[in-house]
Symmetry: none
Subunit: 540 residues, 2 copies
């Protein structure tokens, strides 16, 4: 056992969600999104986090200017080898990349003779010099140098000698890593294995990396084939985000490397078994930032990945999960789902109740009623998957444990755009709320950036004796999803709140009216805070 | 050339969309859906169409009772080997399957000793007899017999001798095909290749099939590995539909087999190059039946599969598509897309302009200004990736081609929740809009489900001479994305509109105020419609 562990080879993970992933159709990261994801990737145990291309666009420049400090991952900047006719010191694009101050820099260059001639328009020899001198500039700056060998597999098929000479030039220039990139994504696993084997005969051991795309549905298989052939760094992205069909999905590769004997016994990566339990959460976080629905059928982390229908499968799984599960769902932070059967529904609810600290006997009659209410509300568009606080309130209300602290008699939110006295176009948002606290009518009015922030401010402005419990409450996130298309559209709003003790909780509201859905979620957020802090109900 | 074609080996495709795919969470085919899909699969050139499990549920029984006549595909019924203690003639389940009258029948049986003992509760020898006698009954009925070897790969790892003995029993019983099933989906490509190689030493050539699942993201790679090792039938489903993470995606496998030299030169399948051009349509048809959004990033057929966003890529593709495309999109009935984005360069903008019918010379000075404006607006949160109409308006406004049809002087949106006269809680949304058309002030007020639909109604209620152009305009989709967290949150709204000629277009709005962002998108939607339909600007 000991001997086996000692002999495992270290394999590095390089994430390009924020660079290659940012080129995905419909993906548009803000600086804040990028910072959030970089921290999550660092916490997961990724070795290299590629943050973008400094100088290529305002978002990437802003991100690197205020780059997050990462615990263990190396923040990496992406750029291009110097342009023909420029020295490395005299190329504005390369200079911006070198100036970003990251620990590692990955430069892409040509290795396919056809592209050298048509895209760059330089001689084969000059391209070798572009590669070597650019990487030398990275080394001179003191950063770890990676060479992204664009079109390597197509280049190798067209002219193996020249493609390999490009790798030589990168190594001679000081590249720590040579990244074999299947840029067009058309290379198949058996070709990857063979060509990586050829490259291994030229590049010193432990310095080859693989960057695969999913255009034939083989991105994961290509990464594994390259690993078996000698690559020691795998590039990819969360959820396979990336141009066209996407990159190698690291969310799929990581558990395979850690849980499958053939890989686990030979290779070691920077992700701990404990961090692996955060994999499902990391995958969903990215979808949340992009307001995408998570892929139910994603390997390992999809909501359906461990879903079993009733009957034979379900009862066999109940006896011994290994009968129909290839790995334990909890190892990646996922959960088993037994579908359809009412029995399963009850045990799901019981588990959810226990999760929020409510312990009921399995035969408690109230469980059935709560289950029907949850099902009915989920049918209308509510979800309690991500809204723990709303679920807890729903359950405790059903159990008669939550008092009506205050009553909202009415509210009104107004948005107006008009020309002001100076002739400028201005937009205003104002909200009025009437509440009753201990029999006393209280009216408040407030302004905000929009109708929701105005309502939030008005609702909390004066809640009588409860106001002191809400001083440290703040709205930290607000997400909107439209559940149906067209005229019958229903809007679901999810609100994240936080208090002075850094506790955060999620509440949900559903309505055809987006303002009303928001109001429901805001209301639940306040009631939850009052309940948890033991605010005194009733008059007094 | 001739010699090469003659020597190609025939590989058969078996589709299980209507059986294994029907077990997917959330999938519920009607009889009509099944018939539609069976015909589409037949037209595509699939060899075997598995229609379901006769007798297992009313839909499947009804489907087989009125089975569609297929041109060339063999309709296949699925069932289970006879139950212990029953003869093949005396088992109601098996009898229903035999009676369905299909040309082929596939029976599933156990090959993992552990399952034989725990799930069936019979001896290893008796299980062999269940397999052999059940397949013999299929042969006796005159149908082509397939044996689905459940858990074969796990069974082989546990006890290779017994797993192979089960295959022997099936062949002895008369099975034309022995299907190696990776039921739990956890087997990796290199294991599949090795274990299929072992099975090849026992089963006569040309009789092994592979049935893989995507639980490690390797379903396609596993099918290809099995093919290389000797399997001559590939089972899978359209779009990879299936339990948990799904089956091998035939939509991905088919073009790989037909367009990639390593496979095209060695194997022949029943799909013609002409039928291949219907692949994208077949894939989308299934999504339509299931009212699912097609996966934009699906290999070969996804809307993004040939989308180019990076500036460098786009300019190279314009010169020569093979630089960044591994196969021609039209070969599978798909199309190329050039996107505008934060990453965009001049050539992207030029291509996008050409796409909306604006032809400018590459050195036109206005391109640089437009590019900066697009980048600046994208930094503020706009996106033109998915908002073609807003992009076209932005460009045409920059070129001075869009008149100000009407001016919005002001608007107001009000949301109110209160108790009505009957004591019921009601929510109202009302909007007022003041516009100037040809120097005339027009005021309108309208109600809606929420503030956005109220504004939409009020804005279109009276636009004077333009109203007649907007009669067939309707809002079909509305999406909201919050771009930053907390108090500085910016909201982006994307609106899809459609008119009576079934043309649809997308517009975008960005603001800290969700109602204002929506208003911008609604305004663009109307202006776009007026511009495209040639509404008369100016007084008159």
């Amino acid at each position: 056992m000991e001997a086996r562990l000692v002999s495992r080879e270290r394999v590095y993970l390089f994430d390009t969600t924020l660079r290659d992933g940012a080129q995905t159709q419909g993906v548009d990261f803000s600086v804040h999104d990028k910072t959030t994801m970089a921290r999550a990737l660092d916490a997961l145990g990724i070795d290299y986090v590629e943050g973008g291309w400094p100088g290529a666009n305002p978002t990437d420049s802003a991100f690197f200017a205020e780059a997050p400090r990462l615990e263990r991952a190396r923040l990496t900047a992406f750029g291009m080898t110097r342009r023909p006719g420029r020295s490395a010191e005299n190329d504005p694009g390369l200079t911006a990349v070198l100036a970003a101050g990251t620990k590692a820099i990955c430069l892409v260059g040509k290795t396919w003779d056809f592209h050298v001639a048509t895209a760059l328009g330089v001689s084969r020899e000059e391209n070798l010099d572009l590669i070597g001198s650019s990487l030398a500039a990275v080394v001179k700056r003191g950063a770890e140098a990676l060479f992204d060998a664009e079109h390597f597999f197509d280049g190798y098929k067209a002219d193996p000698g020249y493609a390999l000479a490009c790798l030589d030039a990168a190594v001679a220039g000081g590249a720590r890593w040579v990244v074999l990139c299947d840029t067009n994504g058309g290379t198949l696993p058996e070709e990857v294995e063979r060509i990586v084997g050829e490259a291994m005969r030229r590049v010193p051991a432990g310095r080859l990396a693989i960057h695969a795309h999913d255009d034939t549905g083989n991105a994961v298989a290509n990464a594994l084939a390259a690993l078996r052939a000698g690559c020691r760094q795998i590039q990819g992205s969360l959820n396979g985000l990336g141009e066209r069909c996407g990159n190698t999905n690291l969310v799929t590769v990581i558990p395979t490397l850690m849980l499958k004997a053939g890989y686990r016994d030979r290779y070691e990566i920077g992700v701990t078994p404990e961090a692996l339990k955060g994999l499902t959460r990391a995958s969903r976080l990215l979808d949340e930032l992009l307001t995408r629905s998570p892929n139910r059928h994603a390997p390992y982390v999809g909501a359906s990945a461990f879903a079993h229908k009733g009957g034979l499968h379900a009862s066999a799984v109940a006896k011994d999960p290994t009968t129909y599960e290839h790995v334990p769902p909890e190892s990646v932070g996922n959960v088993r789902q037994i579908l359809v059967s009412d029995q399963a529904g009850r045990s799901n609810i019981l588990a959810q109740l226990a999760g929020v600290g409510i312990d009921l006997a399995p035969d408690d009659a109230r469980i059935g009623r709560l289950l029907s209410e949850v099902k009915e509300r989920e049918f209308r568009g509510y979800t309690y998957d991500g809204a723990d606080a709303s679920f807890e309130l729903l359950a405790r209300r059903a159990l008669g444990q939550v008092p009506e602290y205050f009553r909202v008699n009415s509210y009104r939110a107004l948005v107006e755009r008009r020309i002001n006295a100076k002739g400028e176009e201005i937009t205003l948002a104002e909200a009025t709320v009437k509440v009753t606290v201990d029999g006393q009518l209280l009216m408040s009015v407030a302004e905000g950036n929009g109708p929701v922030s105005a309502l939030d401010a008005a609702l909390r402005k004066d809640l009588g004796k409860f106001s002191r419990f809400l001083e440290d409450l703040r709205l930290v996130d607000f997400r909107v999803r439209i559940l149906n298309q067209g005229t019958g559209a229903v809007t679901r709003v999810m609100v994240e709140s936080m208090d002075g003790r850094d506790r955060s909780w999620f509440t949900v509201g559903v309505s055809t009216n987006i303002v009303d859905a928001s109001f429901q979620a805001l209301y639940d957020a306040i009631v939850y805070k009052l309940y948890r802090d033991g605010a005194p109900a009733g008059e007094g």
